[in-house]
Amino acid sequence: MFDSTEHAAELFALRTYGNIYSRIGNPTVSAFEEKLASLEGGLGAVATASGLSAQLIALLTVAESGDHLVASANLYGGTITQFSVTMRRMGIETTFVPGGDVEAIGKAIRANTRAVFTETIGNPNGNIADLTAIAEVAHAAGVPLLVDNTFATPYLCRPIEFGADVVIHSATKFIGGHGTVIGGAIVESGHFDWRAGRHPLISTPSPGYHGMNFAETFSEYAFLMRARVELLRDVGAALSPMNAWLLVQGLETLALRMPAHVANAQAVATFLHGRDEVAWVSYAGLPDSPERERAARYLPRGAGAVFTFGLRGGREAGRAFIEALELWSHLANVGDAKSLVIHPASTTHQQLTEDELRAAGIGADTVRLSVGLEDVDDLIWDLERGLAAAARAAAVQV
């Protein structure tokens, strides 16, 4: 209970700290938030109901109708749609830049650009963002860099150390670790100057709190405070405390699971790379990958466990491959303890236009893998069955 009516009023006015209402903050959720913020080297965190709601809340904290964002084109399909359809309907325009072209990102920044957005490891192709270079062009224009670090987790990469200002997670993936919990989080570095004037939503009086100025009142905490007490409060996408507790269980084994994920992914990518049925493998951990150097710089412990490859025989071979697998689960999530396979063009990225698919590097032959924690010999044994089925399908086509 509140200690007194005065205490309750002080809480609701944000003048004192404490538990107000679980949609705004909850002690179990805050335990998860502080742990994740600590792992990312951030100032603090706001947990949300999902990764997509984390993105929405982070972006609505800095942008409103009439504003502009610059984003990599190599993103999760749901993120591209959130930006290009829903956010656009809300009056927030996004320029997508393909291929991690840093110069093009710099050129796309306008006077009303409020953020630059990228994924550390792009979904689905596993391409690696040049974080330091992107942060430099964003900061030169006074714009913060928001990085989705879902595929890397802080075990493989801490984007704040490379200049990111805000880190976003779908905790549903490797952080939860078992495909059993949905949740998201926003972590902020505390290094970006929200008082500089580029973000009037943070640095001018807010009608949401009787004219309180977040930047003046909370200084380095202004972004996180506005994200929590205005956007999380009003959007309502709060993380369930039960899920927060489950995500904390996931964090406790993150350092054991991630090395096992990347070791299996490296072995599976190497196996596929050496097979005649396989046309190409897009895994930054392979010696001949064009992403190799960036992976070594940003992900020295491994290039993640989600990547794509293409089969000779295209879409039909891919269909036969997926259907022949027995151990790999045909599912749309990633970052699960078990290994997962899917055809992005017809599922996770289906809502993208042909142009968007091309910009995202997703072809009709693209198969996405999320490599799990099983015995790698069993995984490869199953893949051999899939490749045999794919070869038969390809032969029928010819």
Binding site: E6, H7, E10, A13, L14, R15, T16, Y17, G18, N19, G25, P27, V29, S30, A31, E33, E34, A37, S38, G42, L43, G44, A45, V46, A47, R195, P205, Y209, H210, G211, M212, N213, E216, T217, F218, S219, E220, Y221, L224, M225, R228
Partner: protein, 159 residues
């Protein structure tokens, strides 16, 4: 001495009892009112507004100057400063004259002369920090807001 670390700020808060808040406001949307109200209702520090335009805030008597405060109450442990940076050197001189043990410049109150005056006179100096945030860092308040307190311990937090 300029206090750079969270541990030093914690020690300062732990050994202090009185805070004279220069520039405390009765306007409920101002940061200085937030901090005043937080310290008053939390009750661990005895906070007094220093503001010549006000007689009291929320029933706490205001003093017109640090000198007037010191004449009646003695030297304050901490002078907390909510003033424009240009005015900070004068506040620092007033704090030294009032015998303050420490001076705390709130967010954005950054003035090199003011820091030098207070430091040279032997006061503990905190710059561009919030006394409310730092008070909450170690008692769990900040953690309830999802903030990274930097406190790594398996022990139950002090309340």
């Amino acid at each position: 001495m300029i206090l750079e670390t969270a541990a030093e700020r914690r020690a300062l808060l732990d050994r202090s009892h009185t805070v004279a808040m220069v520039g405390a406001s009765a306007n409920v949307t101002r940061p200085s009112y937030f901090v005043f109200s937080f310290l008053r209702t939390r009750g661990k520090l005895d906070v007094t507004p220093i503001n010549p335009k006000l007689s009291e805030i929320d029933g706490v008597r205001a003093f017109p100057s640090l000198a007037a405060y010191a004449a009646e109450r003695g030297a304050p442990d901490i002078v907390d400063v909510f003033r424009r940076p240009d005015n900070a050197p004068q506040v620092a001189r007033d704090a030294v004259a009032a015998g303050a043990k420490a001076i705390w410049f709130q967010y954005g109150v950054i003035n090199d002369d003011a820091i030098r005056i207070a430091d040279a006179a032997g006061l503990d100096v905190v710059v561009d920090r919030c006394i409310k945030v730092e008070s909450a860092r170690f008692d769990g308040g900040l953690a309830l807001g999802g903030m990274n307190t930097g406190v790594l311990t398996a022990k139950r937090r002090a309340r």
